[in-house]
């Protein structure tokens, strides 16, 4: 059992050791650089010390109020970085892109309370049309070394922003996150594309859930656009409210445009999804009719068709995707009838459109069954029946639990143990016996067939 559970979790963790190693090498380089600085001559050290003493005399006063405590980043499309001290008073406020310069050009928040600064900045974003019913998403990232502090500030500021937006009658979508352990990958992205670290972290989270999206596609999108793309995906970020899609024509309209253009009256297997192409938000519409598979990319704002594709299925192949599949129930019935199983357990059924087949799997008391069934004709392509790996009930080869207990107790010279546990590990073919007596804890491993003591251990019980 031990081995089974170990392997169960082990297989869920890919060998990512390379990442740890690269982190280790990075830290080594850093150590090396620090050591290198130590090679500076004594003269320079002294000179610097004298210089610092002089400077510090003047600075010590302003030190407390200028000491960075948290960094807050706001991203809408304007990206702004606010540094605050321990009292949440603003040390500096920096525009990270052109749009942001427009927002904070005349404002001076030095020493102002962060709440006041937020009020002014968000107010300006609303007035200048960066935040409204059509683009309602804002990302706030709080960077503080202390996770708890960061989380507390994140909670406070995100509800503050929500309240500001509400007072402007905007139903906002406030995304928020804390940054305690910076991902080096995020730092690289932020540097390369000149975006905030917070936005880079958010993009990495998005890609984890939508692996087909690419970093370079997302960096130039606004937070609302990224938020729209991830509708329905489980992105690891705190979120209040949903992204506004009011700027877009809507799924139904997109479908209508595609169907009309294709001249298809009864499309099957229609799928519509938001995607991005060349910095635009698009609807990707996919559907089938009897002969063709259609692919459309439609500009989500004005409904123009950006790309369309029509592909004929290979007629020579008998397993044509015609869309006329037999139902799951039918496929299930075919498999169960063939197997002669009435009450299957753990039945799963899956349609593989590419291979045009259903795969049906189920169990009964003794066997595991696997069926592959042609999804059009219902013909059984392949089946397989395997004995389930169940424990055998008559394990006459083992000594009894009572016998194993007796062996351990006799060996220990203990008559009245407390809290005795006994376990049979059939994989290792041994009993493990644990018990307590007179301030000691005893551990025995006993061969389950021969009754021989393999290992024992007696330890002072500290309880």
């Amino acid at each position: 059992m031990k081995e089974k559970i170990y392997n169960l979790f082990d297989e869920q963790v890919p060998d990512d050791f390379a990442k740890i190693l690269s982190q280790k090498q990075k830290e080594r380089r850093f150590d090396y650089m620090e050591k290198k600085t130590n090679h500076w001559g004594l003269f320079w050290k002294l000179a610097i010390a004298v210089f610092l003493i002089v400077i510090m005399g003047g600075m010590i006063f302003s030190y407390q109020s200028n000491q960075l405590y948290s960094t807050i980043e706001l991203d809408v499309n304007p990206s702004i970085e606010i540094k605050v001290n321990k009292k949440d008073r603003v040390i500096s406020c920096t525009a990270l892109n052109e749009d942001a310069k427009d927002i904070i050009k005349d404002m001076d928040f030095k020493d102002a309370d962060i709440d006041l600064a937020l009020n002014a900045i968000i107010g300006s974003m609303v007035t200048k049309g960066y935040l409204n019913d059509i683009t309602n998403s804002i990302l706030i990232s709080v960077d503080n070394k202390d996770e708890k502090e960061a989380e507390a500030l994140r909670q406070r500021l995100s509800s503050k922003i929500d309240a500001i937006l509400n007072s402007d009658k905007i139903e906002g979508s406030v995304l928020s996150q804390t940054i305690t352990n910076k991902q080096s990958e995020a730092e690289e992205i932020a540097d390369k594309y000149h975006i905030s670290l917070g936005k880079a972290e958010y993009i990495l989270e998005v890609i984890k859930n939508r692996p087909l999206l690419k970093v370079e596609d997302l960096v130039n999108l606004s937070i609302n656009e990224i938020n729209v793309l991830t509708q329905g995906a489980e992105v690891n970020i705190n979120k209040q409210g949903n992204a506004s899609t009011k700027a877009y024509i809507g799924e139904d309209k997109a479908k209508e445009i595609a169907f009309n253009h294709a001249g298809v009256k009864n499309p099957e297997y229609v799928e519509v999804e938001f995607d991005t192409e060349d910095g635009l938000i698009i609807y990707e519409v996919e559907f089938y009719d009897n002969t063709y598979e259609y692919d459309y990319e439609i500009n989500a704002i004005d409904g123009t068709i950006i790309k369309n594709n029509k592909e004929k299925e290979d007629k020579k192949d008998n397993n044509v995707v015609t869309g006329n599949y037999i139902s799951e129930t039918k496929a299930k019935e075919i498999a169960l009838n063939h197997a002669g199983v009435k009450n299957p357990t753990n039945l799963t059924i899956e349609l593989d459109r590419e291979d045009n087949e259903y795969s049906v799997e189920f169990y009964d008391d003794t066997y595991e069954y696997d069926y592959e069934i042609n999804a059009t004709t219902g013909k059984i392509i392949k089946y397989d029946k395997e004995r389930e790996n169940k424990p055998t009930t008559n394990n006459t080869k083992y000594i009894s639990e009572a016998k194993a207990k007796e062996i351990a107790l006799n060996h220990a010279g203990v008559k009245n143990p407390t809290n005795l546990t006994i376990e049979l590990d059939s994989e290792d073919n041994e009993y493990s016996v644990e018990f307590y007596n007179n301030g000691y804890e005893y551990d025995y491993e006993i061969n389950a067939t021969t009754g021989k003591i393999i290992k024992y251990d007696k330890e002072r019980d500290h309880d």
Binding site: M1, K2, E3, K4, I5, Y6, N7, L8, F9, D10, E11, Q12, V13, D15, D16, F17, K19, I20, L21, Q23, K24, E27, E147, K148, E151, Q155, T178, N181, K208, E234, N236, N238, K239, N346, E361, E368, E388, N389, K390, P391, N419, T421, E423, L424, D425, S426, E427, E434, Y436, E441, D443, D461, H462, D463
Partner: protein, 177 residues
């Protein structure tokens, strides 16, 4: 299924040996391969989120590497590593609206066979939080019942009866014990 016997090396003595040579990348890798399973399992039970748990595994190893000087060679490296894993995971806990969706998790992760899925579902869903902790700490982390009683702050006889009950359930489920 490939049979590994890695689990046989999962004891304090061997781990302490590896820790003493952790600056050797091969040794460190061996330690990583050996411990990623218990560390991940514990992280997952606390965080209930795959990516967070995987991140935690990485963080734990980086912490082990960086703070090896803090480890007192007390022959109980698993206790030390357990504490790091738990503290790191707890500090990652964030407020989440979504609850742990086991079916969703199973769809995302590759399991080598059906039996593993059934066992995983059983461990993560059917067992109570306490039973799960007791089973994993005993079987994966190798803690004695008395140590588990300390860690979970539950008295020993409760631990033992819960452990037995959970093992019984596992047996009834049809797993080979």
């Amino acid at each position: 299924m490939v049979k590994t016997s890695r689990v046989d090396n999962l004891d304090n003595e061997h781990i302490e040996e590896l820790l003493s040579d952790i600056n050797n990348d091969d040794t460190f890798h061996e330690l990583y391969l050996l411990l990623k399973s218990p560390i991940y399992a514990l992280s997952l039970t606390i965080l209930k989120h795959r990516e967070d748990a995987l991140d935690n595994v990485q963080d734990v190893f980086i912490t082990i590497m960086n703070s090896i000087d803090n480890y007192h060679n007390d022959h109980k490296p698993m206790n030390w590593i357990f504490t790091i894993t738990r503290n790191k995971a707890i500090s990652k806990l964030r407020k989440r609206k979504e609850s742990f969706d086991i079916d969703d998790y199973i769809n995302k992760v590759h399991f080598s066979n059906k039996e593993d899925i059934i066992l995983f579902k059983f461990l993560m869903k059917d067992l109570s939080e306490e039973e799960r902790n007791i089973i994993l700490l005993h079987l994966l982390w190798g803690f004695k019942h008395r140590e588990i009683a300390d860690i979970l702050d539950i008295n020993l006889s409760t631990i033992i009866s819960k452990y037995n009950r959970a093992i019984k359930k596992l047996k009834e489920m049809g797993a080979t014990i």
